[in-house]
C-alpha cells in the first residue's frame, strides 16, 4: 500500500465513520418503514402484542433513524466541503450502522419485545433468519472495512 500522498491529517477518519453510521442507520430504518410497512404491508402499524418499553424503543428508533439521515447527509456535505472525506470509512460506518440497526430490529424489536413480526400468517423461522442475516452480513463487511488503510478522497487517484 502506498503511503498517503497529500498533506497529513487532512482526511477525517472518525468523522467519516460517524457520517456513515448515521446514514446507514437512517437508510435501514427508512427501508424498514417504506418497504415492509408501507409497500408490502407485512409489518403492522402496531399489533398491540408488545409492551410499553417496546413502544418507546420503537418510537425512539423511528425518530432517531430519519433524523440520522438528515444529520448524516449534512455531515457528508461538510466533509466534502473540507475535502476530508475518507470513502472507505464512510462505507464502513454505513454498513456497520445499517447492519446493527437491522440486527437490533430483528432480535430486540421483533423477538424480545415482540413489537410486531416480520410477516403474519406464515412460518416465521425463515423470515427471521433472513432478517437477522440481512443485518449480520453488512455488519461484518462494515467491521472489515473499518480496519486497514484508508485515504481521503482528495488523495485518491482520479
Amino acid at each position: 500500500m502506498a503511503p498517503p500522498a497529500g498533506p497529513p491529517g487532512r482526511g477525517r477518519s472518525g468523522r467519516s465513520v460517524l457520517t456513515g453510521v448515521l446514514i446507514g442507520v437512517g437508510v435501514a430504518g427508512f427501508v424498514d418503514e417504506v418497504v415492509f410497512h408501507q409497500l408490502l404491508h407485512w409489518h403492522h402499524f402496531y399489533d398491540r402484542a408488545g409492551s410499553a418499553a417496546g413502544l418507546v424503543s420503537d418510537g425512539l428508533f423511528h425518530a432517531f433513524s430519519w433524523t440520522a439521515v438528515v444529520v448524516g447527509l449534512f455531515l457528508l456535505a461538510d466533509l466534502h466541503r473540507r475535502q476530508a472525506t475518507v470513502p472507505r470509512r464512510v462505507w464502513a460506518g454505513g454498513l456497520t450502522g445499517a447492519g446493527a440497526f437491522q440486527l437490533y430490529d430483528g432480535l430486540v424489536h421483533h423477538k424480545l419485545l415482540e413489537l410486531h413480526q416480520v410477516r403474519y400468517g406464515v412460518d416465521l423461522l425463515p423470515y427471521d433468519l433472513a432478517w437477522v442475516a440481512g443485518g449480520a452480513v453488512p455488519l461484518l463487511v462494515g467491521l472489515v472495512l473499518l480496519r486497514g488503510p484508508a485515504r481521503p478522497l482528495a488523495d485518491l487517484p482520479r
Binding site: 402499524f45 418510537g59 425518530a63 432517531f64 433524523t67 438528515v70 449534512f74
Partner: protein
Amino acid sequence: MSGTPLTAGTATGQLGWLLALAPPVVAGALYLAGVGALARNGTAWPVPRRLATGAGLCCAAVALSPPVTAAAHLFPGHVAQHLVLTMLAPLLLSLSAPVTLALRTLPRRSRRALLAVLRSRAVRVLTAAPVVVVLELWSLAALYLTPLHGLLHTSPVLHLVVHAHMVVTGCLVSWLLVGIDPMPARSGTPVRLAVLVVLAAGHAVLAKVLYAATPAALGAPAEVRRGAELLYYGGDLVELLLAVAVMAEWWRRTGRRLRAEERRSLRAPVVVGPPSGP
C-alpha cells in the same frame, strides 16, 4: 357528517373568517412595516425570511378558517389542524426571524422593553431545552390521554385557552430548534437534535397509544385510528423539516467559520510545528 356548524348562519360565518384572518393579517402587516423600516435604512431583509413569514401566516389562516375549524370536530380534521397550527406554522414563522427583525427596527424604548422580556428569568426558564421538552410532551399527554379533550367541546373559553397553550408550546419548540432568533439560553446543535429526537419519539408513541386505545372522548374508533396515523406520519414530515432546519443553521454557521479560517491561513505564513507565542 351531520351536525357540522357550517350552516350556522352568515353572521357567525363572517365573524369566524374575521377571527381567522385578523391575527395573521396584523402580524403580516407588522412584519412588512419592519422590513420597510430596514429598507429605508438601506438594509435588505433576506427574501427567504419574507417568504417564510408569508407561508407561515397563510398556514395559520387556513388552519383557523371556519371550514377547517368545522372539520376539526372529527379527530382526523383536528389532527390536521393541530399539525399545521402547532408545528408547521411555528416552524415557518421561526425561520422568518421576527424577533431579530423587531430588535433591529423597533424604536429605542420598545426595543429596550423587548430585550428586558427576552432576558427575564421567566423567558430564560421557559426556553431552556429540558423545560420545552417536558412542557410539550406533558401538554400532548394531558390533551389526548385525559378527559380534557372531551371537555373542550363543552366550553369555548377552555377550547381557546388550550389551543393557545398548544400553539405557544409549539412556537417554543420551533424557536428552540431553528435557533435563528436570539434566545436567552441558546442550546448547541447536539442538544437541539436530541430535543428533536425525544419529541419526535414522544409524538410517535402518543400516536401509537391513541391508535391502540382509541379513547372514546376523541370520537369513533375508526376515526381515532385514522387521526392517529395522520398524527404519526404528518408529525414525521414536519419533524423531518425541523431536522433540515437545525442542520441548515449548523451548515451556515460552520461555513462562516471555515471561510474565516481559510482567510486567516491565506494571510498568515505557513507555520510548521506548534506555533510559538508572541
